[in-house]
């Protein structure tokens, strides 16, 4: 019975992998080999829809056909590694695949496993790729390559579950794994495994989640069983700590180190490593190193020179616990040499005052101990304690003046009254505290507005930038630039430069009801109207009528119509520009600020109004209103002298009245909890007092409303 693709395909399409297997097994090996070329050609010819149209995913069946027919490992691997097959290795029924490869007794199965193994990625821990590769390896007794992906997949397999029945603990999985000796050392060497090693798992019997990471506990147990070499594991752990990394990455190794509880001899073998760890490692690792070194020192196995060398940077670490431990260690270890005292004095440079004080106390104690204070010594007046004073007197005689001199140097930087105490102790001059005037840079002055837009090309650049970031300064420059270019007759240049920007980003300048950005669409409409005064499609006519009504309502009622908080005036001004730029052109805007914070110099505004008066032009009302609101409240009313137009008079009135009035202040009590209608019992207490600020009604609007009625 020969094999037929149609039969295999039909079974694969219905998900009948058992059927595919039985067809393959019923054929002879010659028939299977003869069928290989067709399988290859058919799989290569598959179209995308052939994968998703059948009732079941055919990948599993196809993969079995590959395993069942291919004559060599490279050809089988090539098909299984095709993108469409590669992503679906988890669809391959492992027992069926085993039946097939066992029946064929393939000599190249180990080669195939190796070819698939090098292509594993970290995702295959979940994707099923590792399961396939591990099964093939187990079948042939081969070993995987030691790559990060393989290590990750293997480790994940050890920790997964335990869903088997009966449940298998991770420890038992490690014990049973054939790859333990090969892959386990890599857990210490691949730095990027990171949080993976901190993974916890479920208790096999109780099904309760355990908080403790599995890796350290299991490793310690394997070492205790003699399954792993204790010396090697301890060395690898210390190596990993020395190589360093983020605290979270090192945590499992800190736990492992604790679980291993090294003996004093073992610790001594790594003394230099611990000495390296203490000054620079994350705090948990440093604490571990400190404990280890202290054990060594207690056993008399630590070179005093090493202790002094590591103490120097350690005493300046920011973790106070480490520093205090180091200080008390040095305190106990200090022998008759002044080196120790000088080393302890390094802590004078620590930023924390309590550390400085402790260091000073320890130094004082040892100076005293070096020379026992004679009973008859009389404390000189001014010494804080008799003991300190006598110690200093004697020490000056015997410890050596230059040592005290050296101690005095760093002591000058001590905080509080410690510097004075130190000066007495060391017999140095008390540093005269200089009045420290820390010159902080003042608040930067408010920047002036950038220079106005001078060309149509610059306007186009700014309009393009506006889409990226809307800033108040950019908006003001664009509005002012548009008005001045329009007045200078540059409309054709604007058409040539800004036009392409509007076309290119049309969707950003269109009206969007989902994410309303009215300003953008108003600006685009204004520019289009300037470019082409006859511009007007259906939507444009609707917008025109709406905006004219909006602007007129704002002019007359004095109450902006386009809802929305403080930026509504800007939107209204853009609308005003749209309606007025051709109907009542002006050469410049009044409201363009003089400083980047939006403030407008009253003299500049007066000059602008004066120019408009001379030209006989009436400024745009919303523009004027915005300009008045931008005046500093302490502006000099004299700048408006001599202005006669309505706008000029309004400026004079505004300045004379002292600018924008204070907001109305209302006191509001907020109660704790809601008081409902059926509330029984005492009223809820007042939780807090708040103040509501209501901006004053704009006087210019109010006056306009009056004048229009």
């Amino acid at each position: 019975m020969s094999l037929e693709w149609e039969v295999l395909e039909r079974r694969a399409h219905s998900g009948d992998t058992t059927g595919v297997t039985s067809r393959l097994l019923k054929a002879t090996e010659e028939e299977r080999l003869a069928f290989a070329a067709e399988v290859e050609a058919r799989i290569k010819a598959l179209r995308p829809e052939d994968w998703w149209r059948p009732a079941a995913d055919p990948a599993g069946g196809y993969a079995l056909a590959v395993l069942g027919t291919m004559p060599t490992a490279p050809r089988a691997a090539r098909l299984l590694l095709r993108r469409d097959m590669r992503d679906k290795w988890d669809r391959i029924p492992i027992p069926r695949a085993l039946e097939i490869v066992r029946a064929r007794r393939l000599p190249w199965l180990d080669d195939l496993a190796a070819r698939l193994a090098v292509k594993l990625t970290a995702d295959d821990a979940w994707g099923g790729g590792w399961k396939l590769v591990a099964t093939l390896l187990a079948e042939t007794g081969g070993t995987p390559p030691v790559t990060e992906a393989v290590v990750r997949c293997w480790f994940d397999e050890m920790l997964r579950g335990p869903w088997e029945s009966p449940p298998v603990t991770p420890l038992d999985k490690f014990r049973a794994s054939p790859f333990l000796d090969l892959l386990f050392p890599s857990l210490f060497e691949i730095d990027t495994l990171g949080a993976e090693l901190s993974r916890a798992t479920m208790d096999a019997t109780t099904r309760i989640w355990l908080e403790e990471p599995v890796f350290p506990v299991a490793t310690a147990q394997l070492v205790a069983d003699g399954r792993l070499d204790r010396k090697q594991i301890l060395a690898a752990t210390v190596d990993r700590l020395v190589r360093g990394g983020r605290p979270a990455e090192l945590r499992p190794f800190v736990l492992l180190h604790e679980a291993l509880t090294p003996t004093t001899d073992e610790t001594a073998a790594h003394a230099l490593d611990y000495a390296r760890l203490l000054p620079d490692s994350p705090s948990t690792v440093a604490a571990l190193a400190q404990r280890a070194l202290r054990t060594l020192d207690d056993a008399g196995l630590l070179d005093p020179a090493t202790l002094l060398e590591i103490s120097h940077p350690t005493l300046l670490r920011k973790e106070k616990t480490l520093v205090k431990t180091q200080l008390s260690w040095l305190d106990r270890a200090a022998h008759d040499s002044t080196d120790f005292i000088e080393t302890i004095a390094v802590a004078f440079g620590h930023p924390a005052l309590d550390i400085q004080e402790r260091a000073l106390n320890v130094v004082g104690k040892h100076l005293k101990r070096l020379i026992p204070a004679p009973a008859e010594a009389i404390a000189p007046s001014g010494a804080s304690t008799p003991a300190e004073a006598s110690a200093s007197a004697e020490a000056r005689g015997r410890v050596g003046a230059e040592v005290l001199e050296r101690l005095g140097g760093p002591a000058a930087g001590l905080g509080g009254d410690l510097a004075a105490r130190a000066a007495e102790l060391f017999g140095t001059n008390e540093p005269v505290p200089e009045p420290v005037v820390v010159e902080l840079p003042g608040p930067p002055p408010v920047a002036a507005m950038p220079s106005p837009i001078a060309s149509a090309a610059e306007l186009a650049t700014e309009v393009a930038a506006l889409l990226r970031e809307e800033t108040a300064v950019r908006w003001e420059r664009i509005l002012a630039g548009l008005v001045s270019l329009s007045a200078a007759g540059e409309a054709p240049a604007v058409a040539a430069t800004v036009g392409p920007v509007l076309d290119r980003q049309a969707e950003h300048f269109a009206e969007d009801h989902w994410e309303p950005r009215p300003r953008m669409s108003f600006l685009a409409a204004a520019i289009r109207r300037l470019i082409d005064p006859t511009f007007g499609d259906q939507a444009e006519r609707g917008r025109w009528r709406r905006l004219v009504a909006t602007v007129r309502a704002a002019w007359q009622v004095g109450e902006p119509v386009l809802g929305g908080p403080p930026d509504r005036l800007l939107s209204l001004r853009v609308a005003e520009l749209y309606t007025q730029i051709l109907r009542s052109p002006v050469p410049e805007l009044l409201a363009t600020p003089t400083l980047a914070n939006g403030s407008l110099d009253a003299a500049v505004l007066a000059a602008r109004i004066r120019r408009a008066e001379t030209a006989g032009r009436e400024p745009w009302p919303l523009d004027l209103e915005q300009a008045l609101l931008r005046l500093p409240r302490d502006s000099d009313p004299a700048v408006a002298a001599g202005l006669t137009s309505p706008a000029g008079r309004k400026l004079a009135e505004w300045l004379a009245a002292g600018g924008l009035a204070d907001p109305t202040v209302t006191r509001v009590e907020q109660t704790a909890g809601t008081r409902l209608e059926f509330h029984i019992g005492p009223p809820p207490p007042t939780a807090r007092l708040v103040v509501n600020l209501t901006p004053p009604a704009s006087r210019c609007c109010a006056s306009r409303a009056r004048s229009s009625t």
Binding site: T192, R246, T461, L467, T497, P500, Q505
Partner: protein, 437 residues
């Protein structure tokens, strides 16, 4: 586009007691031998080499799958420089072993890859301050000719952006000035204060004997972008005497910029150069585009490269005399050579130095994508120069480029010149240069 870097070492580098043998691969020979002699301060050299190796295997932006490119070593006339570049293209590390740090002979000049493997890192971390160490960079001739053991081979992807970034970092640092100098006590306090995972942009301002960190730039400040990336400097602190900081001039309101942080001992200098933000690699900074690669610059670069001679620093004036070119053109040519990875820049000496990256030349010489796009625009005649403004037609779109290099494209709108000119501005510059020439 990524090519691959292939390494072949005659065995792993190793530290036997008193003997540090670094294996080499590529460069002027298959396994060049550059140096044999003693290190005068072996403890510091070991820690410095570890720091360079750490940067080489780290990705500060995406901490997964680190790039595995080995550090390179350059033997100049009197010193050794170990360099590496992080996988994220954002950190450049260099250890300079100065003449005072070497007691031996530089046997040949050139640049080669050097193997720093895990067991070697382990051994280097245990080097004591005073252990005398004999250093051999490269195997001796006898080993090379008679070697028949297994070689150590590795192949790693070599993305072109990595190469461009490595080269661009040199050009960018050429604009740096010294900004601050700290004693080691202050340096330690400063580095300890920085959080290891910090990715924010800080500004360091000299204040008293230390630096004050602020969040806004002021004149004289140095940018500290992603302070966590300085972690590799910390172990070197125990040997260092000074921390020097270099950066470009900044003003109030400046955007983030690159900076160099250098720890030095009397015999060695270890420096880290940080990109303007942790997520920004040096490759996209566009610093090289300023001194634009016209054909003339390429010719000058060829002429200049023939005159370079592994000096510790390149004397621009002497080169100008030797080449018969004005100084500005020599500098442009050096920038061009920097882009191709054929010179490096030493901020401490404020000068370029000769070194040729041992990577395949065609990958390094490949144009910056922006410049390539600009060339094709210029070649297609898309640029119309009309006095001050120029119009570039790209597809159906029209872009206007002004004299100051600003453009109406969205790329310029986003970066506003912080990452060099856009392709339209470059195309205009190319065309203007032709018009003038």
């Amino acid at each position: 586009m990524a090519t691959a870097a292939a390494y072949t070492y005659l065995g792993p580098s190793a530290l036997a007691p008193g003997e540090l043998a670094l294996q080499t691969s590529g460069g002027p020979a298959a396994h060049p031998r550059f140096f044999a002699g003693f290190l005068t301060d072996p403890g510091a050299a070991a820690i410095g080499l570890l720091a360079v190796a750490e940067v080489a295997r780290t990705r500060y932006f995406r901490p997964v799958s680190p790039a595995g490119l080995d550090p390179v070593v350059t033997a100049g006339s009197d010193r050794l420089r170990f360099e590496s570049f992080s996988g994220c293209c954002g950190v450049y590390a260099r250890l300079d072993v100065l003449p005072a740090g070497l007691d031996g002979d530089v046997l040949a000049h050139g640049t080669t890859n050097v193997d720093v493997n895990v067991p070697l890192q382990r051994a280097l971390s245990r080097v004591g301050r005073a252990d005398p160490i004999h250093l051999a960079v490269g195997p001796d001739e006898l080993t090379v000719t008679t070697f028949d053991g297994p070689v150590v081979e590795r192949k790693v992807p070599l993305p072109s952006r990595w190469l461009h970034g490595f080269a661009e970092a040199q050009v960018l640092t050429a604009r740096f000035d010294p900004r601050a100098s700290l004693g080691v006590v202050e340096a330690r306090a400063l580095l300890n204060r920085l959080s290891p995972g910090d990715r924010s942009v800080l500004w360091a301002l000299p204040a008293g004997r230390s630096l004050r960190l602020t969040s806004r730039p002021t004149p004289g400040a140095v940018c500290l972008p992603g302070a966590g990336r300085l972690a590799a400097l910390k172990p070197f602190l125990r040997h260092a005497t000074t921390l020097r900081v270099y950066g470009p001039p900044v003003a109030a309101g400046s955007g983030p910029v690159a900076s160099t942080w250098e720890l030095s001992t009397p015999t060695q200098r270890l420096s880290l150069t940080l990109s303007p933000e942790p997520y920004r690699g040096f490759s996209g900074e566009g610093a090289v585009l300023e001194s634009l690669a016209g054909d003339e610059v390429a010719d000058d670069a060829d002429l200049i490269s023939a005159l370079l001679s592994w000096d510790p620093t390149i004397d621009v004036d002497a080169l100008a005399v030797a080449a018969g070119l004005p100084g500005a053109r020599v500098r442009d040519a050096l920038t061009q050579l920097g882009t191709a990875g054929r010179v490096g820049y030493d901020v401490a000496e404020a000068g370029f130095f000769h070194r040729t990256l041992p990577y395949s030349a065609d990958a390094a010489a490949e144009l910056n994508p922006r410049l390539a796009n600009a060339r094709s625009l210029a070649a297609a005649g898309a640029v119309t120069v009309e006095g001050e403004a120029a119009v570039v037609r790209s597809g159906d779109e029209l872009y206007h480029v002004r004299d100051d290099g600003s453009c109406t494209c969205s790329w310029w709108a986003k970066h506003r010149g912080e990452r060099g000119p856009c392709k339209h501005a470059l195309a205009v510059r190319l065309v203007r240069a032709e018009v003038l020439a």
